[in-house]
Symmetry: C2
Subunit: 279 residues, 2 copies
């Protein structure tokens, strides 16, 4: 079984893939999220599953990946909350030089704004965090660092110069393990969350009634988000996570009831949570 990730070996997605599938899991590294979905769920798929970030504690939902989940009819079969700890990484141990250049992913750059400003680092954007470390170790340019995980530093034989350099220490990202439809949809009692997406008719009270399908069956909600649909003003796509497994009758019935009310409904999966022991 090989697992697709966005970015290279040593990325945060790779860390999560190892947490969910074991240390020696074969990785298919993808440049972009559209490539990752195609590689896993397209007509010529060559990965059995993928690990994809979906929500960040600081920045909210990654709508692009929700869009791709729906477009490819992906099934979620696990989730993991993963702590994103960023490090300043050098080719060799040294003190942090003021005004040095740093290779960094744009989102990571935003998360380390204070550190970058304090040390007056000049930023060169990289497509992913681990790729920045690989590039650093290959070319070994003078006065240049990378920002990535300690895992990436270790993988490429680089040195961690400063650890935990992000502005906000509560920097968690929620990742999903996804794969093809029914094959991966394990309707076991072990699943503790069921994810849905739906479109409601644009009539007053439609959301209230939709939530009634859950509340009237004592099914709790873990997430509810409305998102305007592009090019369709006043129409919303909803993401909803219900607490419970599709193996439970009350969850099944709530979903069937929602299907009656919704114009469109996607059952994205029913799955367990992998807990991050370091958190």
């Amino acid at each position: 079984m090989s697992i697709a990730i966005q970015g290279e070996r040593g990325s945060f997605s790779h860390e999560v893939a190892e947490k969910l599938f074991g240390k020696s899991v074969p990785i298919v590294a993808c440049e972009s999220f559209p490539e990752l979905f195609a590689v896993t769920l397209g007509p010529r798929a060559r990965a059995e599953a993928a690990v994809v970030p979906i929500e960040n504690a600081l920045y909210g939902s990654i709508h692009q990946n929700f869009d791709l989940l729906l477009r490819y009819k992906a099934t979620i079969f696990a989730e993991a909350y993963h702590r994103i700890e960023l490090c300043l990484i050098g080719a060799a141990p040294s003190r942090v030089a003021r005004g040095a250049r740093v290779l960094v992913h744009p989102v990571a750059a935003g998360q380390c704004a204070r550190f970058v400003k304090k040390h007056r680092l000049t930023i060169s954007l990289a497509a992913d965090t681990a790729g920045a470390v690989r590039e650093l170790m290959q070319a070994r340019p003078a006065d240049t660092y990378a920002i990535a995980s300690a895992h990436a530093a270790k993988l490429y034989g680089a040195s961690v110069l400063a650890r935990g350099i992000e502005d906000d220490a509560k920097n968690f990202t929620r990742f999903l393990a996804i794969g093809q439809g029914a094959k991966k949809l394990e309707r076991t009692k072990a699943a503790h969350k069921t994810s849905l997406a739906f479109v409601l008719p644009n009539t007053p009270g439609s959301l209230f009634r939709a939530l009634g399908a859950f509340t009237l069956r004592d099914v709790d909600l873990a997430k509810l988000e409305s998102r305007p649909m592009r090019g369709r003003p006043f129409e919303y796509l909803f993401y909803l996570d219900a607490v419970g497994s599709l193996a439970e009758a009350r969850v099944q019935k709530a979903v069937a009831h929602l299907e009656e009310l919704a114009e469109k409904l996607w059952v994205l999966g029913s799955y367990p949570t992998a807990v991050d022991r370091r958190s």
Copy 2:
């Protein structure tokens, strides 16, 4: 009346400030969002109002600014949906040189990823889009461009080399005009949206009952988003936009009913929408 914005003159926030307050409105340029809130709502405020981005069609809610809205007890008195059109800008007219350097805000860099890749541009991060153009025109470094609005190019006497270079043309951002409490809270019939934030008790069905306060009074919702509260697992902060003005009795009563049900409630404002005529 002076208006605080994050970024410099010529930024998208500046465009929105001109749309809402007129072409000659005095601007207080702030480096960061925390500075913007302090300048407008802190003990030594020197701006009467501020314009702040709150939600992007592609990237979702900007949670940092929701946090600041609550912390400073800001009042929203208008909103505007603004089209973000990015341009490649040079010091003088020329063809786009492959491999040139480009000064760009990290979010704008993410939005123009395809164009940057196609032209193999090297990225240097800038704190804001308009500032990148100003820097370009001051230092006039060789083979260097900026990415910003056409407005910024005009303001600093620079040349637009390519227009609409963002990956997704449906790149809208929702901006809010905010100010101090009651002073700015105009409870007029002209307001068409009322924004609330609240925390519910962690009991089954609490969200269903909260929505009932609106649905049972025929008050429609324009936005509903749940967001996990940091450091408080299983507790959620909700953002809700109701369609209607606080000048209407049914909206007032729905808010009073929600106050009975919520552990905490913030009334963020009741305000009209400024429509972008170019969209």
